[in-house]
């Protein structure tokens, strides 16, 4: 007997097995994103997708490019390190189109008390007032100019 008599059966089995492997490799290549495993066990492209989310807060450096006068006033007062958007809100749309998109007018009675209403949990050195006693209901900007809140600076013009 020159050859193993069942070799043909084994060959067929091998072909079926190989075909299965080819199908697996092809299907896997189609289903698994190309960037999967680029940095670890995740889709590498997800990083750039998340990074491409639009920015809503423009950042203080954007404000500085145009509003140099306000930045100069602010730099002299206690609010020097308060970023513009902390009070004026997110303004990326305004920086893209300053002509048509205008920041909303602010209500100082709400805005100032968010930070300066007295609360036992606030740090003791932080300036706090009980609004009713302090101003008897008058808006804060009657006396304080928010960009430089010290009364000596002249108040609202």
């Amino acid at each position: 007997m020159s050859r193993f008599k069942d070799a043909e059966h084994l060959l067929r089995l091998l072909l079926v097995f190989l075909a299965g492997m080819v199908v697996f490799v092809v299907v896997r290549r189609i289903l698994v994103p190309r960037s999967f495993g680029e940095y670890g066990h995740y889709r590498g492209n997800a990083i750039s997708e998340i990074a491409s989310q639009p920015v809503v807060f423009a950042g203080h450096s954007s404000c500085e490019t145009c509003h140099t006068d306000v930045v100069a006033v602010k730099a002299r007062g206690a609010h020097a390190r308060v970023n513009c958007e902390a009070c004026h809100g997110a303004q990326a749309k305004h920086t893209e189109d300053p002509g048509t998109v205008q920041p909303p007018k602010l209500d100082t009675a709400v805005l100032c008390s968010r930070c300066h209403a007295s609360n036992a949990a606030k740090p003791a050195h932080f300036p706090q007032v009980a609004a009713e006693e302090h101003s008897s209901g008058l808006p804060c900007d009657t006396c304080h100019q928010p960009h430089n809140p010290r009364i000596a600076s002249g108040g609202k013009q």
Binding site: Y42, A46, P54, R81, V82, E85, A86, A90, A121, P123
Partner: protein, 243 residues
């Protein structure tokens, strides 16, 4: 237009190459940003927090966080004399609208801002069954919304309670450390809006970042250090009662 069988066979490799490009997906969006040159964290100075809720509102605006859910929130602690084990903690609407005057008299009162700790050895990334949450080479824990199957495993795994299931997308969500901002050279929305500098974005790989000097000269802690999560949210002046 009519193609012969031969022409189609010749065109096939070109079509395969084009499909390859489609599968490869979108190119890098911030070309000047090198992931290997950064390792992001954040510094929270508890002694500076005034509980105004600016960070919570800014985060919701920047990242379209659904109403009633929080990627960052502020807690108010009230600790009686020596009872560090049982602080009274409240956080009305995550501190989004500030805090009403404290109900309890005396004792110790302070605010603690919280958010994702962007752990270097995060439990949340380890349990994800599909590779939808991961830590980037620059140290930010992110969620791939397209891959998340909403199984909530990561939400249970996070020891800091930082994750939630977005009810609209049905995918896990949490602080991304404003990855879309920090890769463009901006700070995070919460840091931008914080009026007292209680929050500071920190680049631990940048030797010029003032964080290094601060960490050297202050008694800084992370939350739940015994869990060895490698948290990168550093707290200055943290009280022992904070969990």
């Amino acid at each position: 237009m009519k193609f012969s069988r031969r022409q189609i066979l010749i065109l096939l490799p070109a079509a395969a190459a084009a499909w390859d490009a489609v599968l490869a997906g979108t190119p890098e969006t911030a070309p000047n940003y090198a992931m290997t040159e950064h390792w992001w964290g954040m510094l929270v100075d508890v002694s500076k927090c005034i509980g105004c809720g600016n960070c919570v509102r800014a985060c919701a605006t920047e990242n379209e966080v659904p109403e009633g859910y929080f990627r960052t929130w502020v807690e108010r602690y009230h600790v009686d004399d020596y009872n560090l084990a049982e602080p009274i903690v409240d956080s009305p609407d995550g501190g989004k609208q500030g805090f009403p005057p404290a109900l309890q008299a005396g004792g110790k009162n302070f605010f603690v801002p919280k958010m994702c700790n962007h752990c270097a050895e995060s439990p949340c990334t380890q349990v994800c069954p599909v590779g939808a949450t991961f830590i980037t080479p620059d140290g930010v824990v992110l969620i791939d919304k397209k891959y998340c199957i909403g199984c909530r495993y990561c939400i249970q795994a996070c020891p800091y309670g930082c994750r939630f299931l977005n009810p609209h997308t049905e995918t896990a969500e949490k602080c991304s450390l404003c990855y879309h901002r920090i890769t463009k050279g901006l700070t995070t929305a919460c840091c931008e809006a914080c009026p007292t500098g209680a929050r500071q974005l920190a680049d631990l790989k940048n030797p010029k970042d003032p964080i290094h000097e601060f960490l050297r000269t202050h008694t800084v802690q992370v939350l739940k250090p015994h869990m060895a999560t490698g948290a990168k949210l550093f707290y200055n002046d943290l009280d022992g009662s904070v969990r």
